[in-house]
């Protein structure tokens, strides 16, 4: 197993660490962080697979897609955080409402 | 060429104890204000010596100027952040540590 594939494996693990936290963690800010980690994992798989080219230099297409992805990640992070603040302002809680609670 | 490489290696090697001191200080010093003090070693001398070592090897004066700019920017940011964090720590009511 060479180094790029090792990074790709790390990316897969990052994605699932994030996915797990997205389900298990309660606080909204933590959920946004978890989604960011998931995104980083996906990017790492992309970049690692692009790095396999060897002497010819890396594949530029995944690089361009990840650049696009990074900017989209920032915008969803920003929107998610503003939504979290709004949820806290309207419900008084920084988490999603549970079944039986007001707003559920 | 040989002398230049040797000098560069020596300078960069000398930078390591300063980074080590900064990290150890961050870990071992008793409070925020002491740790601030440790940090400046890495900012000023650690990075400064590495930049100097790379400048000795630089191909052109533009590359050397870019390295110098990076160091100056880190110095500026480091000094400002140290001031801001110390000010904020004092405001939130932390008292500087004393040998009692």
């Amino acid at each position: 197993m060479n180094i790029p594939l090792l990074y790709a494996a790390g990316g897969v693990i990052l994605f699932f660490l994030g996915l797990h936290a997205l389900f298990v963690r309660v606080h909204l800010l933590r959920k946004v962080l978890a989604a960011n980690i998931m995104g980083s994992g996906v990017f790492m798989v992309f970049i690692a697979l692009a790095a396999r080219a060897g002497e010819a230099g890396p594949d530029p297409v995944p690089h361009a897609m990840v650049l696009t992805g990074i900017v989209v990640t920032v915008s969803f992070t920003a929107l998610g955080l503003v939504l979290a603040v709004k949820i806290e302002q309207t419900s008084g809680r920084s988490r999603l409402p549970r079944k039986g609670e007001e707003g559920a | 060429m040989e002398i230049r490489e040797l000098l560069a290696a020596l300078l960069m090697l000398t930078a390591m104890p300063f980074f080590l001191a900064g990290t150890l200080g961050l870990l071992r010093f008793p409070d925020v204000f002491c740790r601030l003090h440790a940090l400046t070693k890495a900012d000023n001398l650690g990075l400064g010596l590495i930049v100097l070592g790379l400048m000795v090897q630089a191909d052109s004066w533009q590359a050397a100027a870019r390295l110098l700019l990076i160091w100056l920017l880190v110095l500026l940011a480091g000094a400002t952040v140290a001031h801001l964090i110390a000010r904020q720590a004092l405001r939130t009511g932390q008292n500087p540590w004393r040998l009692s």
Binding site: I3, L5, L6, A8, A9, G10, V12, I13, L14, L17, G18, L19, H20, V24, V26, H27, L29, R30, L33, I37, S40, M44, I47, A48, A51, R52, A53, G54, A56, P58, D59, P60, V61, P62, H63, M65, L67, T68, I70, V71, V72, S75, F76, T77, A78, L79, L81, V82, A84, V85, K86, R93, S94 | L69, L73, L76, A77, T80, H83, L84
Partner: protein
Amino acid sequence: MTLLSALFDLLLLATLLWLAWRLLASADLFKAVVLFIAFSLLLALAWVRLNAPDVALAEAAIGAGITGALLMVALGRLSPEDACPHRLHPTLGQRLSAPLLISLAVPAAVAILLSSLLTLPETAAGLAPLVTSHLAQSEVAHPVTAVLLNFRGYDTLLEVAVLVLAVLGIWCLGEAQVLTLPGSVSPVLLGMTRVLLPVLVLTGGYLLWLGGHAPGGAFQAGALLAAGAVLWLFAGQMLSSRWSDLPLRLLLLLGFQVFLATAAVPVLQGNLLLAYPPGWAKTMILLVETLLAGSIAAVLAAAVIGGRPACAPQSFPPAGQADEEKQQ
């Protein structure tokens, strides 16, 4: 060389995984945010090791600048984690889903993906030869820029649309609140901002120009300029209502609109979408990139403020003594 670089890679990867686990599991929110900032720093190093300097530049600008500021602003507005009690009884679905996910689904999915990764060839050129052979057609010397703005221009076009949509969403959620807390601005901070802002703008322009032939381009420049704008805002500065009304909205949209126009004009002439007229590609790409950088900077800075400009003639974000909205 190979042993040292392999050690470096292993240490970096292990630290990244450990950081991700710690920041998602730690009890303290502020600690999680700080660990996330460290995570994105190390991620930039990983991109460097994977031979992706463009991505490393973008990660440096966004991870060190914008995301940190966004998280800090949100942290100031959200209540801490201990205010949301864990002792509240989880529903049956939640109680079941978490262990199930851990014990079955996640390891299974990881195993399937890892085993399929192992079957992949260790070297594969991918689309790199195709891009290299058509690089002259794109009239840009840097392959990533050629892919972003020429070969796969529709990706970038839609991405800018997503950015505009994100700002629309943020502005729909409410008016901007006070950004900086009351209290005097340190003169040291003002002094640093005064020195740093011109250098930031200059470096943004440099990265934009660099994108034609080397790693760099509109995203990196835009993120850098946005970080400059955020620094300016945190130094207690505000946009007067004269600027935050029409000029700001125009700036937010300009990149998208001009890009859309350059994409649509060839269609009207019976050509393909985004087919630049031959000989004009470089000029068009440079124009689009410059406007995009400005728009991206405005979008990201507006996202940090987190709300639309108020209707009443006020500055953006509003100046205030204490944020009363937060108390409610």
